[in-house]
Assembly symmetry: C2
């Protein structure tokens, strides 16, 4: 299975909204298609959004008919803006856009810029994959044989178009022959845990138990959780982490039970411009995600809903941040600076 | 709307599994019907289970054809056993069965026993309703004007066949003219918050926001929650409380944020025979409740699921227990003994 694949002048993706019931692949032929695939979460997960954005921008560049460099750049910036406007929280999206804008600015002529952008997108994808593997390898050292690990949302190949972040760490430890047991939270409202993590763990043959988000404290209290590992959508310079809604609650619970809480993410997720987690824009999504599950209403009509897609976990709750450049521990300000 | 109604030789209930989409009433004519209505959660909520059980036992007694008192008692004990075997956690169920067995044992002849059991069931229902109102009135004193209150699961009229417990406190405070804002958690897996609490709050015209269970910490951290109020399925002599899965996590989160955490329940929920919360039997329900929502699969087939319906909140997380006989504060051992 390839989550995102560059096919020259089109991009093939697996539609994650259809999983696990159906494995549907789509070929996207325009940058607008990519933008809506990101917005509608056919592609999701911060690193996978970054990869899709890179290919989307490359596709957009190839589509531009302009003959002057300045006209090209004007249209190219519009492409970048539309890709940027899809989702606000994941750092990887903006990091990729910055890289692509830099490549375009450095190019001599239109043809050379187009080629360079395609190469850069492919490079972003392969670097992202490599970062996944490195951080998974490093992170696996934190996982003991026989560990029972709680994870939230989805952070495997689907989320990264690579090896995975938090789930990559679990996969690597599993491949090392460690006996593991995973607790996967279903991750309401969009059930990425129940739909995607369960699907990936099943394929990887890693024993797991699916639980509702509300059960995490119960299993922690019973001493059934050795550590928690989650991914990240954006990490500030001082280690505050934006991740799927519910992550903060899990971090507070882990802290109350003396359970290590790890964040696994490539350094492309770190936003050095921010020193407070509360500066991170939190996407608020449609109320229907809460009132309906796969089209079926579970609440009375017209109820008021607030649906923040992410929350912020302060660094004091994070035992370590696992990146491809090393494992960072508090104090995060220095630690994060030190590894780069 | 009457949640449970005694109609002589039958019992009329609202089918809570069909709400909020459909308001369906059923007439149950045998104690086995009542037992399966409790087991399948057409009637749920600890106090409502108690009321339904009382009527179920009365129905069962009326059905007995025995002519000797000893034969009657033998068959009556079987009725009680079948009603007792429906659900293990709610104390109210067993408290009611004990009352009904005592009434039967005290009766002179079969006809007198049957009459006494019907009277006792009706008395249990009206006492339960009165207890709701008293505890709601007492609890409302803890609610300030302008409070924003988080509640979990469903504890209104549907859950009690009366005025409500935690939701009763909220209703009373609302009727006092206090401006309130409620956050209702959807309460996975069976979504009693989204389906039932939302429906009841809407009917009561109390402003509320529906959130997923995973969002509680987010709103607490933002300072948007003034207190948490939940119901209880069983409270031990030292104040440990069994309640809907997820309650324990909310209590730990409330504690971490310095937010008062209240349990509202009638004294019929208190089990004086237990001094450790971990002696309370926790019902484990079907995996399908987690893997499916209203019949729609959200997880791959055949995944492993653990589905505890309740968890235990240690007394140190509970700011106060609101009962019809008074508000109990720590130390709970003495406090609970002292009010009775």
């Amino acid at each position: 299975m390839k989550v995102i694949e560059w096919l020259g002048e089109r991009v093939r993706i697996i539609d994650q909204t259809r999983l696990p019931q159906k494995e549907v692949y789509l070929e996207l032929t325009s940058y607008q298609d990519i933008a809506s695939a990101i917005r509608e979460m056919l592609v999701r997960g911060a690193p996978a959004i970054g990869v899709a954005a890179a290919y989307g921008i490359a596709l957009g560049a190839l589509e531009i008919k302009a003959t002057s460099r300045s006209q090209f750049m004007k249209e190219f910036e519009k492409v970048a803006r539309i890709i940027a406007d899809t989702r606000p929280t994941a750092r990887n999206l903006f990091q990729v856009i910055e890289r692509m804008l830099k490549v375009a600015a450095a190019g001599k002529d239109i043809e050379q810029i187009k080629k360079a952008l395609v190469s850069e997108a492919i490079k972003i994808h392969s670097e992202s994959h490599e970062a996944d593997q490195k951080l998974s390898q490093l992170g696996a050292e934190l996982i003991g044989n026989g560990f029972s690990i709680l994870t939230h949302c989805n952070t495997g190949p689907l989320a990264t178009a690579g090896y995975g972040t938090a789930l990559g760490v679990i996969r690597w430890a599993n491949e090392q022959g460690k006996k593991l047991k995973v607790f996967a939270t279903e991750t309401r409202p969009l059930c990425q845990g129940a739909r995607l993590t369960a699907w990936e763990l099943k394929r990887a043959n890693i024993p797991f138990t699916l639980i509702t988000d509300s059960m995490a404290g119960y299993f922690m209290k019973r001493g059934e959780i050795d550590c928690v590992i989650v991914g990240a959508d954006r990490i500030t310079a001082n280690g505050y982490t934006a991740n799927k809604i519910g992550t903060y609650s899990l971090a507070v619970l882990a802290n109350a039970h003396g359970i290590p809480f790890y964040v696994a993410a490539p350094t492309s997720t770190i936003d050095f411009s921010l020193t407070s987690g509360y500066q991170i824009p939190i996407e608020e999504r449609s109320p229907e995600e809460v009132t309906h599950i796969q089209g079926v209403a579970i609440a009375p009509e017209g109820v008021n809903v607030i649906n923040p897609a992410f929350d912020i976990t302060p660094s004091q709750y994070i035992t370590a941040i696992i990146t491809e450049k090393g494992i960072i521990r508090a104090p995060y300000g220095e630690g994060i600076g030190g590894i780069l």
